[in-house]
Amino acid sequence: MADAGAVIAAVRHSEHARHHSLTGFALAFIVLGLLFAAVAAWRGDVFFFRLATEALIFGGLALSVDVLLGYTGMLSLGQALFFGLGAYVSALVLKNVLPSFWLAMAVTLAVATLAGFVAAVISTRARGVYFALITFGLAQVVAKVVFNTPSLGASDGIIGIPVITIDLVAFDVDTANAAAFFLFCLAFVMALYFLCAYLARTPAGRVLAAIRSNEDRVPFLGYPVGLVKVLAFVLAADVAALSGALYPMLRGFVSPELLYFEVSGNAVITVIIGGMGTLIGPLYGSVLIVGLKSVIGSYTTHHLIVIGTLFVFAVIFFPQGLVGYFKPPLERRLAARRAAVRA
């Protein structure tokens, strides 16, 4: 063949255009976060820092939903199970064991991996609606158990979680410092994003896309579909739990509401509004949803009516979501620029 490698080069070119446009959205998200931090710090603000940190934390949850929904095609209606699990485990460690960020994260990761594995074995045998209902059911069961367990604070949750200092070797971050903790959470959630984005581009991640596209053919390519789905589910559980583990550090308390369906449902809405299958879209979506809830919530207690209506319009007019809508023009520009550089 005269042009060996030409097809590989063409494929790589087309993949780069897609990846670079999404990386562009990710870098823009960081820049916007830093700009916000600069303005908020200049204004001496605390409220908006806390709100933006909450958006990042729920963005991490939405990211985990997108790993399942956007990449593997599995609609989880119970992702709050792992988010709440992370929040509770982190709260218990910080309050009762040691006020150490890294210990809380390590324990959260271990517990979430184990719980994620058990839930995956139960739920990933089913597909579509049945999978969605099983995840929903599991989260409801755990929420009710927590709600009725006095040692976990029952309906009151756990309060009085201490302010901690996160040891980052070169410097420390105090969770009481709204600006510093916001910047830390920005770095933390973006690290989760870049990890997921990296995995999505590896051959292992591509198998998830293959499962989403045509699950029945995948075994005939030699991949153990059942195992791959379990691993994807555990990854999503870990991402959700690590995000949830930040919550008690932000708010100083956890409550059973973190495990409720409203949190799971909101995460799905966030993914769809932000752009399913983009991974970065859910983070934009979370800023939008958390921001809107707060703004509208300051005028009316019926903010869910507005969010619901917005969701309906978004699905009808922007089914690709925010990032999905702006991605193709950016991709074309990047492709054109690369072509110009080559010529």
């Binding site: 051959p203 591509r206 075994p219």
Partner: protein, 278 residues
């Protein structure tokens, strides 16, 4: 080249010898690549496959023919692990693989294509092939960037050229024409580098031109691997095959050299009826 000529590069019996001997003697020299014994499965009241036994030799193209409902596709599903048999055994390279899952069968070297095109329609054509070729890489490379799996990339590129789909490499598989999708269907199964390839009606719904091109492709594969083929087009089967198995109402009616099978009166009655009279 016609199938009546011997294909004897590996010292396997020539087609003429095969025609002259019985099916079992034909396989006596070596452990057959694939052997099925007494294979049976029932769907409710229907005995879809009924005590079917045969063996196929390395390097041959063996075809399964039979009228609609004869149990050909069910036989494929039994061999490829898509469904489990009620009784009987499947031996691959002499090892009992009955009831193994499709991915474990592929690890052993048995791949298949589908009668109804079964691709990753949303993914690019190249990506369909790369996914299939990835199993040639060690498992740990699955967590490195895709570009590091150079062997899989080269395999995908070689196949995309061989199956004349290079100009569509970055297009979604779903956007291809029917004939192109059928070619990709074969190429994806082939990309896994199997020792035995099961092709379920590879030319299904193809135009005459596409059928001839695909037949030439299948023929060109014969030196590289063993092929078991389901096909409706009798002329194509007679031209391509070293060995033909005739299915009828779930049972094996006959097997042997294409010419011998065509001459068999039972087969003529069951299958070639109209063609033989005309």
């Amino acid at each position: 080249m016609s199938a009546a000529q011997p294909r004897n590069a590996r010292g396997t019996p020539t087609a003429n010898e095969a025609a002259a001997t019985s099916a079992s003697a034909h396989l006596a020299s070596d452990v057959p690549l694939l052997a099925v014994g007494d294979l049976s499965v029932r769907f409710g009241a229907l005995q879809a496959v009924d005590r079917v036994s045969f063996a196929i030799a390395r390097g041959h193209i063996t075809s399964v023919i039979g009228p609609n409902g004869a149990g050909k596709s069910t036989l494929f599903n039994l061999i490829s692990g898509a469904i489990r048999p009620d009784r009987g055994r499947v031996l691959f390279r002499g090892v009992d693989v009955t009831g193994r899952s499709p991915n474990r069968l592929l690890d052993a070297g048995l791949a298949r294509s589908f009668q109804i095109t079964n691709l990753f329609f949303e993914l690019p054509v190249f990506e369909n092939l790369r996914l299939a070729a990835q199993r040639l890489e060690p498992a740990w490379r699955a967590l490195l960037p895709t570009q590091r799996s150079a062997h899989a990339l080269r395999r995908a590129e070689a196949l995309i050229a061989r199956f004349d789909l290079a100009h569509k490499a970055t297009d979604a598989a779903g956007s291809l024409s029917h004939g192109e999708q059928r070619r990709l269907e074969i190429a994806v199964a082939l990309a896994t580098q199997p020792g035995l390839l099961l092709l379920d009606e590879p030319t299904q719904g193809m135009s005459h031109g596409d059928t001839a091109q695909t037949a030439a492709l299948i023929k060109s594969l014969a030196g590289e691997l063993t092929i078991l083929l389901i096909e409706h087009d009798v002329d194509l089967v007679m031209d391509l095959s070293d060995h033909v198995i005739v299915m009828h109402q779930g049972t094996k009616l006959a097997e042997g050299h294409p010419a011998a099978v065509r001459a068999n009166p039972d087969v003529q009655a069951a299958y070639f009826g109209e063609a033989a009279v005309a």
